[in-house]
Symmetry: D2
Amino acid sequence: MSDHPVLNYISAGAWSLVQPLLSNRAKDLLITLIDFMENDVLPAEKLFHAQIPTHPPEARWASVPPILEELTLRAKGRGLWNLWLSGGDFQGMAGGQGGGLSNLEYAVMAEIMGHSAILAPQATNCSAPDTGNMEVLARYGTPEQKEKYLVPLLKGDIRSSFAMTEYGVASSDATNIRNTTALPSSNPDKLVVKGHKWWITGAGDPRNAIHIVLAMTDPQNPSPHKRHSLVLVDPRSKGVKIVRPLTVFGYDDAPEGHCEVVYDGVEVDVDSGVVGGLAGLGKGFEIIQARLGPGRLHHCMRTIGIASRALEILLQRVSDPNRKTFGKYLRAHGTVIADIAHCRAEIDAARLLVLAAARRIDVVGAKGAMQDIGIAKFTVPSMALKVIDRAMQVHGAEGVSQDTPLAYYYASLRTLRYADGPDEVHIQQIGKNELKRVEKLDQRFERIKKEGDRLLEANGKAKAKL
Amino acid sequence: MSDHPVLNYISAGAWSLVQPLLSNRAKDLLITLIDFMENDVLPAEKLFHAQIPTHPPEARWASVPPILEELTLRAKGRGLWNLWLSGGDFQGMAGGQGGGLSNLEYAVMAEIMGHSAILAPQATNCSAPDTGNMEVLARYGTPEQKEKYLVPLLKGDIRSSFAMTEYGVASSDATNIRNTTALPSSNPDKLVVKGHKWWITGAGDPRNAIHIVLAMTDPQNPSPHKRHSLVLVDPRSKGVKIVRPLTVFGYDDAPEGHCEVVYDGVEVDVDSGVVGGLAGLGKGFEIIQARLGPGRLHHCMRTIGIASRALEILLQRVSDPNRKTFGKYLRAHGTVIADIAHCRAEIDAARLLVLAAARRIDVVGAKGAMQDIGIAKFTVPSMALKVIDRAMQVHGAEGVSQDTPLAYYYASLRTLRYADGPDEVHIQQIGKNELKRVEKLDQRFERIKKEGDRLLEANGKAKAKL
Amino acid sequence: MSDHPVLNYISAGAWSLVQPLLSNRAKDLLITLIDFMENDVLPAEKLFHAQIPTHPPEARWASVPPILEELTLRAKGRGLWNLWLSGGDFQGMAGGQGGGLSNLEYAVMAEIMGHSAILAPQATNCSAPDTGNMEVLARYGTPEQKEKYLVPLLKGDIRSSFAMTEYGVASSDATNIRNTTALPSSNPDKLVVKGHKWWITGAGDPRNAIHIVLAMTDPQNPSPHKRHSLVLVDPRSKGVKIVRPLTVFGYDDAPEGHCEVVYDGVEVDVDSGVVGGLAGLGKGFEIIQARLGPGRLHHCMRTIGIASRALEILLQRVSDPNRKTFGKYLRAHGTVIADIAHCRAEIDAARLLVLAAARRIDVVGAKGAMQDIGIAKFTVPSMALKVIDRAMQVHGAEGVSQDTPLAYYYASLRTLRYADGPDEVHIQQIGKNELKRVEKLDQRFERIKKEGDRLLEANGKAKAKL
Amino acid sequence: MSDHPVLNYISAGAWSLVQPLLSNRAKDLLITLIDFMENDVLPAEKLFHAQIPTHPPEARWASVPPILEELTLRAKGRGLWNLWLSGGDFQGMAGGQGGGLSNLEYAVMAEIMGHSAILAPQATNCSAPDTGNMEVLARYGTPEQKEKYLVPLLKGDIRSSFAMTEYGVASSDATNIRNTTALPSSNPDKLVVKGHKWWITGAGDPRNAIHIVLAMTDPQNPSPHKRHSLVLVDPRSKGVKIVRPLTVFGYDDAPEGHCEVVYDGVEVDVDSGVVGGLAGLGKGFEIIQARLGPGRLHHCMRTIGIASRALEILLQRVSDPNRKTFGKYLRAHGTVIADIAHCRAEIDAARLLVLAAARRIDVVGAKGAMQDIGIAKFTVPSMALKVIDRAMQVHGAEGVSQDTPLAYYYASLRTLRYADGPDEVHIQQIGKNELKRVEKLDQRFERIKKEGDRLLEANGKAKAKL
């Protein structure tokens, strides 16, 4: 077992715990994935970036780096495709490619992909927001919608966006989303979509062929959770205006981008334009809830991988003989060694939280795993930011520049502290869940105290105060 | 599975991960243990403390609370005895009682015992320093030494101390220990032990029948690691002087105590007085190394349990209607809820580190698991102190008083940040281990860079800087 | 200036800032105080503790160490008496002794006294709760009450307690205090005090001659802030029952103690038994508010001194050649040096907060300084605990024992995180105060934005989004 | 006093402490500065950014926003020019403009300028690296060098760079700098500068007219501190190659920039090309040391201002009715309020450290203030990053975008944790300085212990252990 190449990626303790729960297929696939990462993906990173023009803006957003297409083909050829399809419930549609893994198995693989966090997930069709969108279409789409959008998404022929966050609105409370509507028009077969969204990831991508838009379709519904539907908008429709790419720190993430988008009276068909057709009307919230659980965990998995890569970069830097200061290797300083140990411990602990949550999903489903997922959700990104920050610090100025990926990692992961719900919301949720134990605890302590008092009395001692 | 009572103690995610690795015997034993904790141990805590006289000092150190004897009998009767005997290698000597569990199985049980951290380990003969001492005797003792000390220890008839730390010496570097000697006397059959030790846990206990003393037997040996042996000293021998109990914060831990002890010319037999007999001479360091691995982890396991109990106490306090301030339950304050969530997440993460390390020992042995054990060693006590500190804080003054166990927990666990090696030593060790990866990483990055440069060149791009 | 001995106690930066604001008298007094500390107080610490019997309990609580009486005489003789009397408004009553300092001047002196936190404040009659009680009596007492209690307190002939916290009640919201009453009895000249208090500091002291008790005198008053009065109870009265001393992390603080006290129908005179006489009825809350401001800051001042002493102890320990590990002084480890630097920086920053708050009181009075006092209140104890914890850690086991004062310091200061209001209450208060700036900020940003938009327009640029 | 507008910027406590130490001129100037900030600088920020073209790159680096020139004129007109000239020693050269303030006075002003951290320092000729460069020229330049470079810099007619950090070298240990040389050429009147530097701030600025380059001029000198000189290079000389701008978290800081620069055989005159002329040869290190002290503190001062601005932005955001979640203002959440309180306390404490250090410079000079400066140096940027991070978090995605200045602030200040020496170096230095107290402490404790033992003995008690 000690020879499994996965031990170059994850801690021995975690592997010892997880290994008996992996199928032989997963263990083999893991070896294939690692080989793909080491020999195809990681060496291609520089070229990928070099193939994105820095200017003019028109060129920057116009095309996808050819090396990505090439990696995509290779991944498909080796069965490393749609690995995230854990449930396997719409595996047939994927044309027999990938999928069928347990969440625990995928967790290990997603972490490894995280070592090349931009390239590997895209090359294997495992990247957000497509995965979540495919899940939505597979579970709730009509047969026609599946044919039209899910099949090409599963093949990697198109890409997609999920348009939820509204401009000027505190969208972390989704019931606030009320400025985007999809209401009947004069044409009875059409709904008209009007709204102003932003942070629409992937909306800059030239391959993007579908926006799933959360919009109010029934503003008067007495239940605030039944007013919204998911509307399917073709980004090339009349009325769709990509206002600008937003930057994250100074990065624009071209050609994918995170865009501000105005839907200015876009017409969609009443029957086919709503996810699930007419039956899907008012189900917007129900569907997005279902979308979020495993998606949050996928982010966490990859984030562990990014943190691990940052630690590798740190380790090499502090061992670089050109970086000696005052005659000493950086690695010879006690505080550097202590930082490394803390990185190691924090990564290992966070990984185990993710693996436990993934396993929990396998055993009882995503809903029953919400506590474990939530803990991972608010723990992992902060952990990774700390690790990356330490890695930046040992690099001095170089650490924040374009010459290492660290500052970019930092910027990207900083967004995970509010994406899919800010840390604060998850923290409050976990705390409140934990408080649900109190009733049972009270009964238990009551029982223990009573028996304790009986013992004290029987032995001639005064009753306890508390 | 959701009905297993262990879910009242450990997180669902951890259980999902671990459960398939537990034997049916362990799962049954777990149920028995929980029943014993809930119905016997926890209700007996107050009586246990009430049965220790507060003064005069003579009485305080003279006897063991009768309730402890009673619990011991019950534990034996239910097979909850010597559970820590994970290796099973000297199980025969335990008379078929307990043992035989994997480290992973014991980890779960030890955590549960940690909920009554003073009583439960003693009641089940799973408490330090006896467990480590039994391990030493079992692995390295002569048949006579086993008969004389190991058998009664396994039965719980006697207790023992491990005398390592020296007064006035930085004992965390064990090679510093040089002021205690066991050297030949005028009587050729005897060694004479002279030295000044302190922090000898259990030396105050009236049941204590043996001190295992680390002493220099070969001061001139060129190797600093071969100068010491473990000497067996009967505490009732002439020349053994219990100077005073040391306090931990203001607690003296009577009747066990942590004592300052002078060995003022104590005679021991040359052949039977050294662990392992003549063959054991010079093996002091080798043996204590072997003793520390699982022992460190046992402390961690119990510590998770203590932290969990502190969180339970916190949860109840903040839900107490008598503790409303400004019209609000404490539990209604966002900062309190956030504290609870952090406690939950930190306990869960720490537990997983301990379980992974325990599993790692099961797979490759303690030596191969040192990295995982070390991470748990320096992570778990700090985590628990944070949890307990939060629990104290919500209690106000009551939290530091004798009316809750919190301040005592805090004091006890604070000692774990230096016992068996201070955090700092473990942190440096883990950091240095991690740095051993660099050579391999350098080769790997060299390979990736080369292939990357080839790709850049082949695609007409400038080589990357780094 | 560089030769002023105060530079052995406080940072050069702080002194540079503060020195021009001190009177010559204060600068001279500072020199006298330092001399007293170095030559009288600090050498007397061990004897003080040795003069408190460890048992039996009766003896432990019966007398005051003679060395304290001696130090008291010396302090008086040198004008180091009642220095806390910053306002000087009742200085006359102090018989010309001490006092008359600004709060800033006293802040520097109180920090220096904090280096011997138990002994120095008592030896100079600057210790809580007496100082606050004297302030109450001086400001609100009747002439008779001043004569009877304030004069002997100012002379140091008696000591006093302040009985506020109620057993089983969340007293950090003082309006919760309702289980102690002082109501008319059958004797029209008497009030009958009934109640159950705890954490009554000094109630164990044999010199204690007066409890100031917060009790409900007008339970039906519509305003919850006018129901209480401060009642003067002689602890030797019939009906006063000292139930037990409470422990703080195992320490009982004999002979002063923090006691649980039952007032079981204690009779006090209607006219003379209420602070302020009949006019003081219903003014309990008003008076305790006034008592708290500078008192909180006095605690902070001393706490800086305790932290500084802990750092001194740390510095010496890590420089002790007997404490070398692995051939290195502890002080040679980078992590130890970093810890020292952080201690230094944190102490220096906290001191400046205290000095700024003290100066603020001097300029605008305690009420106007509440924001600065509040920040110091929640910042300083946590800082000091961190410093002490680091000092304990470099000592290993010795650091938590009776052989250094560190664990005792830790325990004492831990209580400051909830005494006079828990951190959480102060933090919320400071945050809310800060939020009061928003209205003004909104107007300001509105103005800036408007002008900014005008500039953009005038220069042919699009208006800014935000 | 309470009406001074500075109270909108700094805490009342700090102002109370500092106010008596400010001259009337400084207090008046402060009012002028605040007026300039509120009515000129802050409203101009958006226009300034709008006037920097986003592309093509040639345009982006070609010109300075006209609004900056306008502000510059206004600042000059109001006497807000060269305020950093604290020493006043070369004030004559500034043409009577500004200057002459104490460091303490300037500290308050620099903080206020920090509220518009890019614009205000430039508009008042108080921005790095020009201030440090002017200091170098004023103290060490020849009369001709002053005439040629210092005078136009003081007037704001040109800008300058300081080229120290070398590509591929750990420059935080300046003795490592050895790849840039300025050696005799075949032409005896010339030195030839060859080297590869990066992070040359301002090298992209079209106004830049001089690089001060740290180069080896005497590589064989036995003292590593005498091998270097500061060489004056005109950026338009033959052989100066601006390779590329470096990015900081994706920001390029155009038009100033932080550039990679190659000096590829640039010729400079032997006599006039070295700072100080021939006498300046070998004095590179001596001069840069002198340059760093107050410069580090200037950064800290401005950083406090940036943190304060971030807190203002946070306060407004959490009070925005459009940002309610789950029916509650963000400001109504306890955790948000607690975050605000911590921001407030941390800013206030850090400011006081800066003010104390500035005052210390005023009293004893920069050299004697190194401990106070060093503490500020490593404390302030980390504090500000925490404040900004909290401000980003309450904004969600918007906080990292181009729509608030927060992410840009974060990126800029992140660089201060290694610029002018990484935190780690300063922390070690402060720790080591503190350790210098030990000898004196040992003597003191020896004395105290001796006297203590005498007291114990005289009172019939056993001597203390320690």
